[in-house]
């Protein structure tokens, strides 16, 4: 009986994993297939010469180029905001907070991680209105507010992954530097943080994915269907997830829907590239730590 139960558990786990893998494969392949079908250079750059568009010599009106740039800027600025704050908070929780504070704040950040993004979007929207009243004509819905709101949205991932990475380091590693005369911050900066790089970057990769796909937050804080390339952080912008949402709810011809799939394909490629970048950065940091 026990042997049967054990076999059943193994079979069930395997079956669930296989099912999940199958679903992911179907969705990815379908998006790639439909997207690649509609994919062309003119889809990105419209009628404009790619070089002119990349150098900013001519604006692109009927292509996805501004949306790609918008998403890229959005993700990078959200991570630039969230990473330092999140890592610092994670360090505090893992290494400085008293046990009671650690439990309380960890629970709080878990709740924050579960907060629907539309709620954070609404908060961003409210702040935008307030700022707009304070500085009429100068601040409205824009890239900066979207990036800050998205940064807030992904903050818990960075905090918790930093905290977990630091807390799961073996006690022997934790004690090595103090026994050699390291002060607490020296131990964190020179040993514990470098040793947790991969865990922290795991959180940042999760944050990149979340920031790149989120539509609810940007919908309320600055994204528009047509804006061209943003010239500053205080302007409205285009973004791929919003384009996908917009085109799939408003399409009139099959071709327009195909464009949505192409945009989804581009979003996948963009996320993949950012993941690769983060992974490359991790390898680079690890090498630097070991051999310099």
């Amino acid at each position: 009986m026990i042997r049967f139960a054990e076999r059943f558990v193994v079979f069930f786990s395997l079956a669930c994993t296989a099912l999940l893998f199958f679903c992911i494969a179907v969705v990815t392949v379908y998006v790639l297939w439909r997207g690649l079908d509609a994919f062309s250079i003119s889809l990105i750059f419209g009628g404009v010469d790619p070089l002119d568009a990349l150098l900013g010599r001519r604006p692109v009106f009927d292509g996805l180029f501004p949306a790609i740039v918008g998403t890229l800027l959005l993700v990078v600025s959200a991570i630039v905001v969230a990473a330092p704050v999140g890592i610092a908070t994670g360090i505090y929780l893992a290494d400085y907070a008293s046990p009671r504070w650690r439990v309380t704040l960890s629970a709080l950040f878990d709740v924050l991680a579960g907060l629907p993004s539309i709620v954070i979007g609404l908060a961003g929207f409210t702040i935008t209105i307030y700022l707009h009243r304070l500085f009429p004509g100068r601040i409205g819905p824009c890239l900066l507010i979207s990036a800050l709101s998205l940064g807030f949205l992904v903050l818990p991932y960075v905090i918790r992954s930093t905290q977990l990475a630091l807390e799961s380091l073996p006690a022997t590693l934790r004690l090595t530097a103090p026994a050699l005369g390291a002060r607490h911050w020296q131990n964190i900066y020179r040993v514990l943080l470098p040793a947790s790089t991969s865990g922290i970057l795991g959180g940042i990769i999760l944050a990149i994915g979340r920031a790149a796909e989120d539509t609810a937050v940007i919908l309320l804080t600055g994204v528009v269907a047509s804006a061209g390339l943003p010239r500053s952080l205080l302007e409205q912008y285009e973004a791929l997830p919003f384009f996908i949402y917009y085109i799939s709810s408003q399409y009139t011809t099959t071709q327009e829907l195909e464009m949505g799939f192409a945009a989804a394909f581009l979003l996948l490629v963009l996320c993949g590239s950012l993941f690769l970048l983060a992974y490359g950065l991790e390898r680079l940091l690890a090498r630097r730590f070991v051999f310099r």
């Binding site: 022997t172 590693l173 004690l175 090595t176 103090p178 026994a179 050699l180 005369g181 051999f291």
Partner: protein
């Protein structure tokens, strides 16, 4: 932290009989969560000797070692009472009474653990690490000091061609000698060794025992060991931790 002793006792040690003792404890006790691990330990160790502590597992031998570099404070909890005096080049220091920062103390009292613990860095970086922590930056001088420490630990010849290789790729015995070299980098006056050979094979073990004899010239060694025959071979003074205290063995 609870303190029972008084600082005048320390002064009287200084004037009277402690002139040659490197490590002195008076009524030393340690408790964790109100459970006493050991108590009433009065110890006097002369300079340039190897003192070994034996005893059953779980008797608190490792914790006893961490009393001398205050490393137990890193675990949180725990309570020391009594007096611990260490004689450094600049005089007798009461390590729990005088405001000596832990980092400062640990630069003078080196420690090597039971399991080799090289940091995930190159061999060179590992050995240079304590000096870097102390703020030394000169590269040329550092190379020289790293070589010197590795030679003291009888490791230089084996690794001189791969100083920039990952330290974790070394064998267990080499890793342990690397850790000893790293601990020697700051030229500590006292070296604490927590069962330094227990995770090594007989050959590596022999090499470390050879090394211990050399170390005696430059520092006072306090070690914990499980192996009676090893203790007999290397130690000048042997103590046994039993019934929550430390007694001198024949």
């Amino acid at each position: 932290m609870v303190w029972n002793g008084c600082w005048r006792v320390a002064l009287c040690f200084d004037n009277d009989m402690a002139s040659a003792s490197k490590i002195i404890t008076r009524s030393l006790a340690f408790s964790y969560d109100k459970k006493t691990l050991f108590e009433s330990i009065d110890l006097e160790l002369p300079e340039h000797c190897i003192a070994a502590v034996t005893g059953p597992s779980g008797a608190g031998k490792s914790t006893f070692l961490t009393v001398f570099n205050r490393l137990w404070q890193e675990f949180g909890g725990g309570n020391v009472s009594g007096t611990v005096l260490l004689r450094f080049a600049d005089g007798l220091v009461d390590i729990y009474r005088e405001h000596l920062p832990a980092s400062e103390l640990r630069r003078r009292v080196g420690m090597v653990f039971q399991k080799p613990n090289p940091l995930p860095m190159s061999i060179h970086k590992n050995v240079a690490f304590p000096l870097r922590l102390a703020g030394h930056r000169k590269r040329g001088e550092m190379d020289h000091l790293v070589e010197k420490a590795l030679r003291k630990a009888h490791l230089f010849e084996e690794v001189k061609d791969r100083l920039r290789a990952d330290a974790r790729a070394l064998s267990g015995g080499q890793q342990q000698r690397l850790c000893i070299a790293r601990a020697l980098m700051l030229e500590p006056e006292i070296l604490l060794l927590d069962e330094p050979t227990s995770s090594l094979d007989a050959r590596s073990c022999g090499k470390i025992e050879e090394l211990l004899d050399d170390l005696k010239q430059s520092c006072t060694v306090l070690m914990v060991s499980h192996y009676q025959d090893q203790v007999r071979r290397v130690a000048d003074l042997v103590f046994e931790m039993t019934d929550q205290t430390l007694i001198r063995s024949a």
